[in-house]
Amino acid sequence: MPESSEQPTVERAITLAGDLHARPAGALAVAASRFASAVSVTVGGATADAKSVLGVMGLGATSGQHIRIAAVGPDAEEAAATVIVILGEATKVGE
């Protein structure tokens, strides 16, 4: 993807410890929405806006799947890091 020099892009990945149900999807969207950067979540061939709870739930991501996060914008580094932490916490088995 083309990118301008002033828009840092940060990519991170995590393997889900549990299914991405409504509550973790909500936590993810609330957290992502606090950043100025655009944040996307990709699972398999599907990509959703991390700030859209319905989009994230629509991915139907399940335990063991590999999720890729891409953040583009001024606070991309912090946004990607925060989203990864939430995905790790919120999908722990038992949720």
Partner: protein, 133 residues
């Protein structure tokens, strides 16, 4: 997390009291419980229908300073909400044209992130384009 900054409140107007309460519970759980969500469902005597008095109380209770987004379940709930809004011209209220459950969840999550009233209403209305499958 953002206790100092008021978030947009949500009023769910349903013909069914149980449906309004259930959708409010779901939206609260998904969004982390930081947004004021008021269920205004059923008539004053508890039957199926909508109540101007409940909507009026809901608008008052939901407004913590950042305005209120109202979601009606079916068409005639819109009539009740509009009638109430005509009597409250000063309110910062947006009546959102959105699917009830998806709109409630999307609006509440967006409000929880600190978005303004227009962004919260837009999130509710965009919910009709979100695919589940």
């Amino acid at each position: 997390m953002s206790a100092a900054v008021p978030t947009v409140g949500i009023v769910l107007v349903s013909h069914s009291a149980e449906l309004a309460v259930g959708a409010a519970d779901l939206a609260a759980q998904v969004s982390g419980g930081t947004v004021t969500i008021i269920a205004a469902g059923g008539t004053d005597d508890g039957t199926l229908g909508t109540s101007a008095a409940k909507v009026m109380r809901g608008l008052t209770d939901a407004d913590t300073g950042a305005g209120v987004v109202v979601l009606p379940d079916l068409g005639s709930a819109v009539l009740t909400v509009r009638a109430v809004l005509e009597d409250r011209p000063g309110d910062r209220v947006i009546l959102a044209d959105a699917p009830f459950v998806e709109g409630a969840v999307a609006a509440t999550v967006t409000a929880a992130a600190g978005a303004d009233i227009k962004a919260v209403a837009a999130a509710a209305e965009e919910a009709r384009h979100a695919r589940k499958l």
